[in-house]
């Protein structure tokens, strides 16, 4: 008798509310009873699958609207993206010349083999998917959400994946790694797999070969304490990188020490071609040696060359693009959770764009000196 006086509209509303409540109750009973089959092996009904895919496409399209892609036809970006793709994505999505793992093929939904069947997403949409992942699929979000720069590297590679020949892919993704053919016994018993064994060199190079991309730091000849500290910070997620955190997390303390020791002993590869002009490099030298008192910028050398603490990186011969990228992260307010990051962040925030170009150009133009050698 409650709806007396509400009229026709009131009656209809009452029926709608009651119907909704009934449906909710039915759904709850279905879940409670266990009759619904959650088996991935069963697949979805066609209508459900269509609805889910329809919803996903629209959701990605809407959320990618405000994203502005940087230029992606950049060989350094593509090489870095390929290196990460091989370790992080290829298991589920395959790669040129590599098919999707049979385990991943039986996920629901099965991940697409990207070299042959990628939806025609835009750059911005691909970025959004790689960064945030997709609910109700196995696609995870990026391990370090503040590192858009890394996500764009993967997108740059994805743009090329369909036209990349398997041989070219091996070159891009595996870089200088040339693992010797293992014997049956080694394959059967050695306690590490090929993926992990070559992971560092894929991007950073090894022996006399430098990094595959100017966006990847030169590790050769860095102090072992610095290398070990960086890996430890990545493993603990205090230093953030969707590329490095997953790699470092798999290493134990002894492995970190051995790796740091290996790269610390390597002689520095030849520095890249000097990008800046002579006057820019001169300005960079002035910043590195004297700093800029008027703008509160200390000189770089007391921390980054010669006999400075071995926990600090040495910068001579380092890639200018890599250093500029790190400084940009500090300027944007990221990257300051580690002890060293907290020191660099306020200093980076005092550097102008021109300062960064000058000082990174200067250090890149120097050949790395072995640690322990006196400065000048």
């Amino acid at each position: 008798m409650a709806n007396v006086g509400l009229g026709r509209v009131g009656k209809v509303l009452t029926w709608i509310v009651a119907g909704g409540a009934g449906l909710l109750l039915a759904a709850f009973l279905l879940a409670w009873s266990g009759l619904y089959n959650v088996a991935a092996s069963r697949g979805h009904w066609a209508i459900v699958e269509w609805l889910l895919a329809f919803g996903m496409r629209n959701s990605v399209e809407l959320r990618a609207m405000a994203i502005n892609p940087p230029p992606l036809d950049d060989p350094d970006l593509i090489a870095l993206g390929a290196g990460h793709f091989h370790g992080g994505c290829a298991f589920c999505h395959g790669a040129p010349g590599i098919s999707v793992s049979p385990i991943a093929q039986h996920m629901l939904p099965p991940p697409p083999h990207l070299p042959t069947s990628m939806r025609p997403w835009t750059d911005a949409e691909l970025f959004w998917i790689v960064k945030h992942g997709i609910k109700y699929t196995g696609m995870p979000g990026w391990a370090a959400l503040e590192r858009d720069d890394e996500v764009w590297a993967v997108v740059a590679f994805l743009r090329q994946i369909q036209k990349t020949h398997p041989e070219r892919y091996r070159e891009l993704a595996l870089g200088s790694v040339r693992l010797p053919g293992q014997t049956g016994k080694e394959l059967a018993t050695v306690d590490s797999n090929q993926e992990a064994a070559g992971a560092c060199a894929r991007c950073h190079g090894a022996e006399s070969k430098g990094p595959v991309s100017a966006l990847v730091p030169v590790l050769h000849g860095q102090p072992r304490e610095f290398l070990a500290k960086a890996l430890k910070e990545y493993a603990e997620s205090t230093r953030r990188s969707g590329v490095m955190q997953p790699m470092a997390a798999e290493l134990d303390r002894q492995e970190i020490a051995r790796l740091a020791d290996y790269y610390a002993r390597l002689p520095a590869p030849r520095p890249e071609k000097i990008a800046g002009n002579a006057s820019l490099i001169d300005r960079g030298r002035k910043l590195a040696v004297e700093g800029d008192t008027a703008n509160g910028i200390p000189s770089c050398n007391p921390c980054h060359s010669g006999n400075a603490l071995p926990e600090y990186p040495r910068l001579s011969g380092q890639s200018a693009r890599y250093m500029a990228g790190q400084l940009a992260l500090w300027r944007a307010g990221h990257h300051a959770a580690t002890g060293g990051g907290a020191i660099m962040a306020p200093i980076a925030q005092r550097l102008s764009d021109e300062d960064i170009a000058a000082v990174t150009g200067y250090f890149a133009s120097l050949r790395a000196k072995p640690t322990g050698e006196k400065p000048q």
Binding site: T293, S299, N301, P302, N307, A308, I343
Partner: protein
């Protein structure tokens, strides 16, 4: 009601004011022009109080007084005499008296005996330069002066406007980027006075304080001579290790310790840090524990200051650095 609240309010304000030390007070003049400023301040307070009292009385009479008073207070003559003539005469007289009283500030007769000290106000500390016999001695955040001698401060700023004020010794003068301003001060007798940046300069402005330590002239000469020397050699093994760590950790990028490779000019000169009375501009007493706090956590002691936090040292290393710095006397 209002009157009943007024008494306790006045009393509690009085109690609060009594809490203000006399190290930073215009009403406690200790030299030079400060005496005249204090005299002028008292005259202003007394005159202002007397006028306020007369106005309150007139207000009361205008509301509750006999008709005779009310008519007088409401007359045009009253407005002309008390509202126009009285303020003109009083303020003119006050201006004349003030100018006459502080004439010494305006006169810039060269004092051949004066000691010249340059102070640069920087976000958020004070760079102090003495020039005995053509060499310059750089210190920071603590100004020592000889008592009884006129000091001419040359004031500059490289960043924003600051203002240099030691209330016990005299007036305040702005430090303006691109300009040089001057201020003469004198302390009558030895003592310690507190100065303060008196122009908002961002972030930790409120903590941009300093101390002026007036010494007997002979003590001052000895002190300046010791300040002109390069840093002393570390005395203990720990302090030695502290110096090595100080240099390796890159502290010399910002700080200078004369006599070592540390030659930075971004932050305060630390050559004789241990001889100062405080750490972090009068915020903490000079102890090894406070030096360590400032290195690791300076952003909590003086929020916004330009030194990054150095939370990278194992405890023993930090102890060694603090031992070295405290030993720089």
């Amino acid at each position: 009601m209002i009157f009943r609240r007024a008494l306790p309010t006045c009393l509690s304000i009085g109690v609060l004011l009594a809490g203000c030390g006399d190290r930073q007070s215009v009403l406690n003049p200790k030299g030079g022009d400060a005496h005249q400023f204090a005299q002028l301040s008292w005259l202003l307070f007394a005159g202002g109080t007397a006028i306020l009292f007369v106005v309150m009385l007139a207000t009361y009479l205008a509301i509750h007084g006999p008709d005779r008073f009310r008519a007088l207070l409401g007359s045009e003559r009253m407005v002309v005499w008390a509202g126009v003539a009285f303020p003109v005469v009083t303020l003119t007289a006050l201006l004349g008296y003030g100018v006459w009283l502080t004439r010494a500030v305006a006169l810039t007769a060269a004092d051949p005996d004066a000691l010249h000290i340059s102070v640069s106000g920087e976000q958020w500390w004070w760079r102090i330069t003495y020039r005995p016999a053509n060499e310059s001695v750089v210190a920071a955040n603590e100004i020592r002066i000889p008592a009884g001698r006129t000091i001419v401060f040359t004031l500059t700023s490289p960043d924003v406007i600051h203002s240099f004020w030691v209330p016990n010794l005299g007036g305040k003068v702005d430090m303006i980027p691109g300009r040089t301003t001057r201020l003469r001060l004198r302390a009558d007798a030895p003592g310690v006075f507190r100065g303060q940046c008196a122009e908002y300069c961002g972030g930790p402005h409120a903590l941009m304080a300093f101390e002026v330590v007036a010494l007997p002239p002979s003590d001052f000469d000895a002190w300046l001579e010791s300040q002109a020397k390069p840093a002393s050699e570390p005395e203990s093994v720990e302090a030695h290790r502290g110096r090595d760590l100080f240099l390796a950790a890159g502290c010399g990028g910002c700080h200078a310790v004369r006599g070592t490779a540390a030659a930075g000019t971004v932050g305060p000169d630390l050559t004789h840090l241990g001889s100062r009375r405080s750490v972090g501009l009068d915020t903490l007493a000079m102890t090894e524990a406070n030096i360590k706090r400032f290195i690791e956590d300076g952003q909590h002691i003086k929020p916004g200051n330009r030194m990054p936090p150095f939370r990278i040292f194992p405890a023993a290393d930090l102890d060694a650095i603090a031992a070295y710095l405290a030993g720089l006397r």
